[in-house]
């Protein structure tokens, strides 16, 4: 299906145990991600989207099935994976530059070259003058960009984004999604994004995976093909004629009932 597979999720299932019983969060989930692709996973809230990301990252072990990254089975956390959260989780006692270095420090890769790359990323994405500022002095959108650069600084092959914009207000969210979508494309990163925002999923990704309600199985996979006169970015994507069509199909598949 694609030239170079990076991630292969094979029949993963996940059960959670509490003293009151057992819940199946994921059931027999399988999909693949190709190099350079941005994939979104959407699904009803509480269906186990974030659990899937945690399993891919190696933070938690699935009850059954396995995840292959570059044909290697995932056992524990992987140094080639960058993870981005809903909140930026910047450390308020470190300035922006030191926050960006944290991943490198943990992986003992902090040296002249990696420092230079991190600073270059900050320069490129408009944060050069804030290097010595503390996180409390930055706006929410800027902080989220710093969080992305912190993730990119370790030069990950694969990025996992767990609802990365949902803590931002709507306008900021559109702008930051556009920013980060463009950065990911420019840096030629492969990414899997979990979101509950259908429009965001379509606008940012090459493919959208729709999950069913819990226990989550893959309901459908949409390859997003948009006809655009200009270059595709998350913002321009929203103007494509097919956008509405994808939106309606996915909305119906999600089968949301408020009762």
């Amino acid at each position: 299906m694609c030239k170079e597979k990076i991630v292969e999720v094979k029949n993963i299932s996940m059960n959670y145990h509490t003293l009151n019983g057992e819940t199946t969060a994921l059931k027999d989930l399988s999909f693949e991600v190709c190099k350079g692709e941005i994939i979104s996973i959407v699904g009803p809230s509480g269906c186990g989207k974030s659990t899937a990301l945690s399993i891919i990252s190696g933070l938690i072990k699935p009850s059954s099935g396995h995840v292959m990254i570059n044909d290697q089975s995932v056992e524990g956390t992987h140094k080639n994976i960058g993870y981005m959260f809903q909140k930026d989780h910047l450390f308020e006692w470190r300035n922006i530059l030191d926050n960006v270095f944290i991943g490198l420090e943990i992986q003992k890769k902090l040296n002249k070259d990696t420092k230079l790359l991190a600073e270059k990323l900050l320069d490129m994405y408009g944060l050069a003058e804030f290097k010595n500022h503390y996180p409390t002095q930055l706006s929410g959108g800027m902080r989220q960009r710093v969080a992305l650069i912190r993730t990119l600084a370790i030069e990950p092959e694969l990025l996992l984004l767990d609802e990365p914009f949902s803590a931002l207000d709507y306008q900021t969210r559109l702008a930051v999604a556009d920013d980060i979508g463009s950065i990911l494309k420019k840096e030629k990163k492969t990414a899997i994004m979990v979101t509950h925002d259908i429009a965001e999923a379509i606008s940012m990704s090459d493919r959208v995976i729709v999950l069913s309600a819990r226990p989550a199985v893959v309901k459908s996979i949409h390859t997003i093909n948009l006809t655009l006169d200009c270059e595709r970015t998350p913002l321009t994507s929203r103007e494509a004629p097919e956008f509405r069509h994808y939106f309606n199909t996915i909305w119906k598949e999600l089968d949301v009932h408020v009762s």
């Binding site: 990252s57 909140k87 450390f91 006692w93 943990i106 500022h133």
Partner: protein, 273 residues
Amino acid sequence: MSHKNTITNTSFSKEHINFIKNHKKRKKEIRITQISLLVVFFALWEIAAKANLIDTFLTSSPSQMWYLFIKLAKDGSIFNHIAISSFETVVGFITGTLLGTLIAILLWWSDFISKVLDPYMVVLNALPKTALAPIIILWAGAGITGIIVTAMTVSLVVTILGVYGGFKEVDEDKIKMLKTFGATKLQILDKVIIPASIPTIINALKINVGLSWVGVIVGEFLVSQAGIGYLIVYGGQVFKLDLVMTSVLILAVLAALMYQGVAYLEKKLIKYK
């Protein structure tokens, strides 16, 4: 904060200048009232003593206390007492805080140990530590060591519980963020748990200044030949109330100074606020 706005008069409206003025005025009023309260209190005390409204044998008077202080300062003995008590207190609250933090780290490291020790911590926390002072002094020696250990014990359990509580409050997702980079438990402790808990540890230090003084005074009541606590107990025994009162005042000043010292340390250490 790394940068501060420099205030220039030219760039503000009249309204804003008025706002600043009122703010300063209010601050001044509060400070003046605070000082007046103290002055009035001592003045009334002195007047009441001079007019024989109160029995100075039981209450002493500010002037008697002042003369006594000058006398003790001239022969230098008071500074010796101050130095001894201060030394005991500082060593007490620093070791109490350090040891408490170390034990808190141990509890954080092993959830099992923390769960096992939980009921013992609750009991030890509820127990008035001063009740242990006679035992500690018998074990650690009837001298400065015994007093320091007493001071440390008074603050130890509170520190353990407070700092451990601070550790547990660190956002799980921040820890998860480090784990995604492949952080080990030691790295999590070093990079997030400890730095995030510095404010909690400083708070413990602030509380421990007061608690440590309790330990030192109780210890000195029991055994010592020198120190502020010794002066208080000695003054009480020989009915020299001016000595007792002077010592208590000195104690109040010392405790306040130490608290300010910790507050200064806090300001130096936590730059990002």
